[in-house]
Symmetry: D2
């Protein structure tokens, strides 16, 4: 399942090159995954209140085309893989106007307790995330 | 007593007008006051660990001249007034190169407990801040 | 005329006090005024392409109550006053859930050319903004 | 050659997890590479004035340990590889206090003209960057 969230590039997100500064894409991906989780009944705000933190452990992002002030960017988010202590999301960002892919990303979140120590994802959370992931492929077949 | 802190405008702080975006001045003032407090033996990090939060309650800022990427800005900070539950800081921001005043600000912090409820400033904190403030003027005389 | 724009507090906008950091309110106000202008046929993106910059010259903001991650904040924006080289906007920010006023602000933009020098607002822009402002009061009456 | 730059985590860079939000590491890396370039006689500000833009084309970052408000982070930056139209930087971020590696990153910048079109790095820029890179390895040997 792929969730989609639209954001409009804010003036405050531009830099003097006249485009959105690259750090903001990480924030947009964060919006994409929290929206996807919310739609699946997993409120990130509620998870934190229950003592489950999901800090970002790894980011890989490829910027394909700049985006500009006031443009609408669509964030396509999906769960790529769920492990016992982490979950990996995949993202494709497109410019709404012409459907161009402007960025591709993979972001891994690690499950931690409120002291920042690794902890297993609680089973209901893990299951909810797994339901969003593509079906397991038979072993031997590469996932991408 | 006036503390001074220098910052260099970051690329990420510019916007497409080619100048530092106005929101960052609030961050620079925050650096100015935490540096002034640190120099006076008041660690803001330690205050928070002791349950004293100092959220911003009021900001007044006048932008006089733009500042640009890579320029050094000097933040002159002083305590203007200490009350039982709040403290007001005054700021003058100058461009290091030509001493131009680029902004003037007044920012009030309110003392709160960890649940966000108003609380009195602990006496040692209040005293330390008061030592940084200009001497009390006789009543009837305007403070500025 | 008052425009309203809703934003949802982003995780990236929180700070370790657990609330939205105060600088982001300036960004939200920016969203409020560009939305109001867009609704009135004034695209800020187009203005800049025509060589009219509107940098922020003054901010006054009072923070009344904290806002938290994932809360929806409604930004009520109106034009307070239009002058030949500046325009002042007034803002009321409310928490959507309980209608509490969480902040009040007044922000003045100064009209500048692409070199940052003051310039008069082009008459069509001035008129469009003036149509959004409350009617002039007879002289002698205070504006607020 | 490895450049080192120290930053102190700003309050405004924390999030409600109580650590620096992951997007800021990209800004710190930006500070690391502009400082390294400045030390080698390459002012990024001057490059842009000459019509050479270096937008970020790719980021890979691994977050190893959280960093907290007021901690000093040392950014170790080096040029990994220079190509005709791009340059790749490598980063190691360490917590100053205990020398822990808190993050590792690789960031590729693509050379572009002021319209955002790919352009070759001007030879003097390319040479200056190449002097910062490790010596070429004989072919057949892996670069890392």
């Amino acid at each position: 399942m792929t969730g989609t969230t639209d954001i409009r590039v804010r003036y405050a997100e531009t830099d003097q090159m006249g485009r959105a500064h690259h750090r903001h894409y990480l924030v947009w991906c964060e919006l994409g995954r929290t929206a996807l989780m919310r739609d699946s009944g997993l409120s990130y705000a509620a998870l934190e209140r229950d003592g489950v933190l999901l800090p970002v452990a790894r980011v890989e992002i490829e910027y394909r085309a700049p985006v500009f002030y006031d443009e609408v960017v669509r964030i396509h988010t999906r769960v790529e893989r769920v492990r016992s202590r982490s979950v990996e999301f995949g993202y494709r960002l497109t410019r709404d106007e012409d459907r161009t892919t402007v960025a591709l990303a993979r972001i891994t979140l690690a499950s931690a307790d409120t002291d920042g120590r690794p902890r297993r994802l609680p089973p209901p959370v893990r299951d909810a995330l797994a339901r969003l992931a593509p079906p397991e492929r038979p072993s031997g077949e590469e996932s991408r």
